[in-house]
Symmetry: C2
Subunit: 744 residues, 2 copies
């Protein structure tokens, strides 16, 4: 379980040992800490921070996120925060932000909420149940290509899918028992199969979540189309708008209390039940003789490929089935038992709704068309166009919106887990002001919008991509479970193992079916995405590993010479002691590096104690104006060796500057570089580099005067040389850049 | 005349005096310069720079820019320069840049080239003469709206325009005599009428130049359309391409030798003469009876407004007439006399071509239509579609291209003059690597492209904007001349004054006509632009004035207390002397500010001598890793008071960090701030601000460890806190930010 300190890695024993030795070293060189403490001109303790007045109240009070609790409660990480607002624009932005997002929340505002089963059910099954709104349609949309012959496969395929649902559900029941703290596919796969499968599962999940948003919203828009044609006339803008609302809502960290979720889900279930019952009643009137379906003319031969494709499409009806196993801890004790029961309920509902709907389709003989969703057709057939019809459509839209929203909980959580394992940038560890994983939420919205717009908000087009990710995740987590059971000594392990094995095999088959049959019609996008994702995350991890290694305090640092290389501040009273390399600095033997300072040491940035650092300040001055003088004074006051540097476009100009310098009194060493070109940054950098080569053991501090206008809009009017120089120098070793701002 | 040192303003006497006093001050405090020189650990003189090997040859050898010599030879200014290229992308970019632009040129590569009249003529009159290609068409395009009745005004209006040409030419002859060093409208207007008129003239000129590019290219494309239909099918992309070519060429600093220019201009003149003569010859066959014009049905009544509008449009035939008076110094001695002669020649040519063309129009009775340019129609009428026709069209295109190119010399020069007078950002003073005013050139291209694309590359649409700027500049410079003559004691002053007065009045009338008659049809854009431009330039000047004031070394600096506020570096041997405020730093009386340090002094950034600066270094440490240790060592090695600062998300975490700190030996004062929010930047800034309030006289240096990945693509993976902190802190007074890079 990540703790608040997760982002700040612990030092291991070796580290601490090194720390001690470095410390002793330091003590010898830097003198007693007392002296430093006494020398401090301020009292650091500002008496508690932030000052009582400054504590900002949490607007929404107690703040609950269901699924950031599912399995993993987030590390309390460092958030953006918004520095002191200066300037009108900044303040306006801040105000806007606060109005949209509300005041920041204290970390302590995170609280756990335990859900009773009947609340957890709607909360966690919205995603799964809502799939019924597009699953069957996706199934038939493929079969209808085969004409009547194709449609004949509807019922058998439906049966297959039901079997699939049940078996997957059964194997997730096993997962729940094995991972009472929540077993997301990523966790299970990486724990039992290793890193790569884990990352594959994560990739699958994340594409899944992105598509959940896109597909659900597309379907939702389609659902309200007949009810509110005005709205639905432009689906793409509408869909984008919805995504923006979800974005804002989730950034704000909407309080996702169960009740809020319960309504639409139950409404949808109710609507579907009404629909099915009414439908059956009508059919009963006809003695259940199926209305002869309109014979659509086949555009494709009914091949195994077609059937498999239909299966792959139809099985999107079971997406979101994994939700419960991710969120076991939100149940009341005994968590895993309650979770399992809820899962059973959910799967029953799912099966009922799905079969019910397929039956109706069979009886009414409607087939998908481009004008109207299948569900809406059924509703029209059975319920006419009255209030009931509207109810069905709105309930559908509602539950779909909810489903989209659940992705907003799960996607950032996966990212969080990846970041915690150093597979994603650290920012995804951060909880925003509002205790939401802002960065993940924004990323999800961006991705979903992109896909939604790219595919013109048409559900059908998105389905192929969908199945791939979902079933990849399913397969891998089941496979992980198989391994898990194989290793444990659990009494029922054999039974569980078998169930998971079956689940794994079946979802595996669907996964392959999806990839193969739809590769050209879009699945390749998903495959590429997933592949790229895995590579990327692995490289990120590799990089972080390298950095971690480089940052370790290494013992060898202490083998470094600590002999008198120290450059003492020149003291007007006493001239610097001759033995110091200060002497070597004289024109006599400029480039002499202390024998004991090896090249390696010189280049490596491994100083851990003050006396390993030998300072040289370089102050580039363009004009001897106030800004320039301040920079010089600043440098001199550090009482370390200082060299003033002036880049001059012409000899005349150089002479003029030297005159001013003499007028001033020539108190510091000055070097004037005349460059025949009009460049200033390039020569300065070259000069500093060459100079640094003379004594690679020196730490060169470049002290830049920088004019900072108070209003940002004036920035353009001043040379951004300081910034350019900083950017160019930051890649050089042992060169430190200091900007002395001068405000106008 | 600006000198190389123009950008680096001279110190006036008072300044130098202050400098001396500050210097004496410094001497007392910082000790003898000898000590500093001896303490220098390196030999600053790197023996000439750039090292002989590094001198880059000038690719094009002697490099001549005509009109950057016109009146003003440019200050040799600091150019962008391209720092050491690190990383593949940077190097690629550098290579590309060098291939397109060529190697940088030494400032000394600037040379003057004196032109003999017969070379200067084509060089400087391309712009003016090319106007004949669209002027007459613009005139008739308006008249034709009035049907036959309207066209009847063609000849009289043509006569008016000729009068206009002559009088304007005459008054520019005066300008030339009065400003032998070149009298651009901006110079004349600001010299004689004051700042605002000067800026108005500059605004007029600059819109003029932008539109010269757009209009000329549009017309050029139209000209080649019938010859190379394939090319001209997509005028907008073609035009943009041409602009890009001009951009590259001018950035490269094309050697604009006269010969290169002479060809197309003379070719165009020849073509026009041929056309006119042939036309007249044909007409002679018909006894000069005008072919009855096709009676176009009038769409507007022939009102005074219509006629004025026609006049305003037609007078675009005289744009570019001012070129010669800008560039007097490029003539051989006696410059002004030669320039006048050349101007006379030019105006004669212009009048001849213009009248000739109008006569042809009258005789052949062609009227503008949307398929074909007027010129092309005439050529077809007179020369058929053979080689001669093609010659006419190509020559036209050529001279128009040239005209566009001249704008690339004049626009940046005006910007240069504005920048020199602090009315435009300093960057426009810079000569690029290739001794071209890169920034101005880029700006021009951007503006021209924008307009060209916005108006779909249709000349007609651009004309209304055109006249406004041109005639505003004309009017103001003539007015300026009137004042000038009024003040001088020149023998011929009265004559000159009258001529200028006439020129001024006439152009004034045309200007008003343009504004009034075309305000709604586009002139408002020009008016708004000009107005906005003047406001902007004035605000820029105001800002620079403020800054200059703020940057002056002010004597009062020395009235500041210089008593023992100095914070000595803590010396393990001897404890800091009690009288130093170091003592005050102890918890006993933390917030005591030295009595003699007034609030004003404390906040103002006016330190000019070392002992006015009291250092305190704050080192924010997140983890005690190598980067953190280095930052601490760096700070300690400066031997100034140091305070380590740790921002902690929770008390537990804080405790853990303190433990590590103790393990290390607790060598430096440490302050841990626990923030209930997850922000790190905000609390840090707040803390530093509050701390700074304790002792506003302190200069606080924030020393940030920053992890710098060698490859840029990894930057995203590391917190950019250092950057954010720098941005937030740079607005605070007396707070200096130092980043200690750690490369991985």
């Amino acid at each position: 379980m990540p703790s608040p300190s997760a982002p700040l890695p612990q030092l291991d024993e070796e580290q601490v040992e090194v720390l001690r030795r470095v410390g002793r070293e330091w003590g010898r060189a830097a003198g007693p800490s007392e002296a430093w403490r006494r020398a401090l001109p301020v009292a650091p303790d500002l008496g508690g921070f932030p000052a009582p007045g400054e504590i900002r109240p949490a607007a929404l009070g107690r703040h609950v996120r269901i699924s950031s609790l599912g399995g993993e409660s987030p590390a309390i990480e460092l958030t953006e925060g918004d520095g002191p607002e200066r300037g009108r624009r900044a303040r306006a932005a801040h105000l806007l932000r606060r109005t949209v997002l509300g005041m920041p929340l204290r970390s302590s505002a995170i609280a756990r909420e335990r859900l009773r089963k009947r609340v957890a059910l709607p909360v966690l099954s919205a995603d799964a149940l809502s799939s019924v709104a597009y699953g069957p349609e996706a199934l038939l949309a493929v079969l209808v290509l085969g004409g009547a012959a194709g449609l004949a496969y509807a019922t058998p395929l439906a049966a297959v899918i039901v079997v699939l649902m049940v078996s997957v559900a059964l194997s997730y029941r096993q997962t729940i028992r094995a991972y009472p703290h929540g077993g997301g596919s990523y966790l299970v796969a990486s724990a039992n199969l290793g890193r790569t499968p884990g990352l594959l599962a994560a990739a699958g999940l994340m594409t899944d979540y992105v598509l959940t948003v896109s597909v659900s919203i597309a379907a939702g828009v389609a659902a309200i189309a007949p009810v509110l044609p005005a709205l639905a006339r432009s689906p793409v803008p509408l869909g984008v708008a919805v995504i923006l609302v979800l974005l804002a809502g989730n950034l704000r960290g909407v309080r996702q209390a169960g009740r809020l979720f319960a309504v639409p889900t139950y409404a949808f279930v109710l609507a579907m039940v009404v629909l099915v019952v009414a439908g059956l009643h009508q059919a009963a009137g006809r003695g259940f003789t199926p209305a002869t379906p309109p014979h659509p003319n086949a555009t494709e031969a009914v091949t195994l490929l077609l059937v498999l494709r239909a299966l792959a499409s139809g099985s999107t009806a079971m997406t979101g089935i994994e939700a419960i196993s991710n969120a076991v801890p939100v149940f009341r004790p005994k968590e895993w038992r309650n979770a399992r029961t809820t899962l059973t309920w959910m799967i029953c509902l799912l099966v009922v709704l799905f079969t019910g709907m397929m039956t109706l389709v069979h009886l009414t003989g409607v087939v998908p068309n481009h004008q109207e969703t299948l569900l809406s057709q059924l509703a029209h057939e059975v319920l006419g166009s009255g209030a009931l019809y509207v109810f069905v459509q709105l309930a559908t839209a509602g539950v779909l919106l909810l489903a989209a929203n659940t992705a907003y909980n799960d996607f950032p959580r996966v990212l969080f887990l990846l970041a915690r394992d150093w597979h994603a940038p650290r920012v995804f560890l951060r909880l925003g002001d509002r205790l939401a994983f802002s960065h993940g939420i924004i990323l999800l919205s961006a991705a979903a919008t992109l896909i939604f717009v790219a595919f013109g908000g048409r559900t059908a087009a998105l389905i192929p991509l969908y199945a791939v990710g979902v079933f990849l995740a399913f397969t891998l987590s089941q496979a992980g479970m198989v391994v898990h059971w194989h290793q444990t000594r659990d009494p029922h392990r054999l039974r569980s193992l078998l169930l998971n094995a079956v689940g794994c095999t079946l979802s595996g088959i669907v996964f392959l079916a999806a990839v193969v049959t739809k590769f050209l019609t879009g699945a390749w996008v998903a495959v590429l995405t997933i592949g790229g994702f895995v590579l990327l995350t692995k490289r990120i991890r590799a990089h972080y590993d390298r950095v971690g290694e480089a940052l370790r305090l290494h013992p060898h640092a202490l083998e470094l010479p600590t002999s008198g290389c120290r450059v003492p501040a020149p003291d007007p009273a006493a001239p610097p002691e001759p033995d110091a390399p200060a002497g070597q600095g004289s024109k006599a033997s400029p480039a002499v590096v202390p024998e004991d300072a090896s090249e390696a040491e010189a280049e490596a940035e491994t100083e851990e104690a003050p006396e390993q650092i030998h300072h040289l300040s370089i102050v580039p001055v363009a004009v001897l104006d106030l800004a320039g003088m301040r920079a010089l004074a600043y440098a001199a006051a550090l009482r370390q060796p200082v060299l003033a540097l002036h880049i001059s476009p012409s000899d005349a100009e150089a002479e003029r500057f030297r005159d001013n310098w003499r007028e001033w009194g020539d108190h510091l060493p000055l070097e004037v570089v005349v460059t025949p070109y009009r460049a200033i940054v390039a020569p300065m950098i070259d000069y500093i580099e060459v100079l640094h080569r003379q004594r690679p053991d020196l730490t060169v501090t470049v002290i830049l005067p920088e004019i900072v206008p108070r209003q940002r809009r004036y920035r353009l009017l001043h040379s951004r040389i300081a910034g350019r120089l900083r950017r160019s120098l930051r890649t050089l070793p042992k060169i430190v850049v200091t900007t002395v701002p001068f405000h106008v």
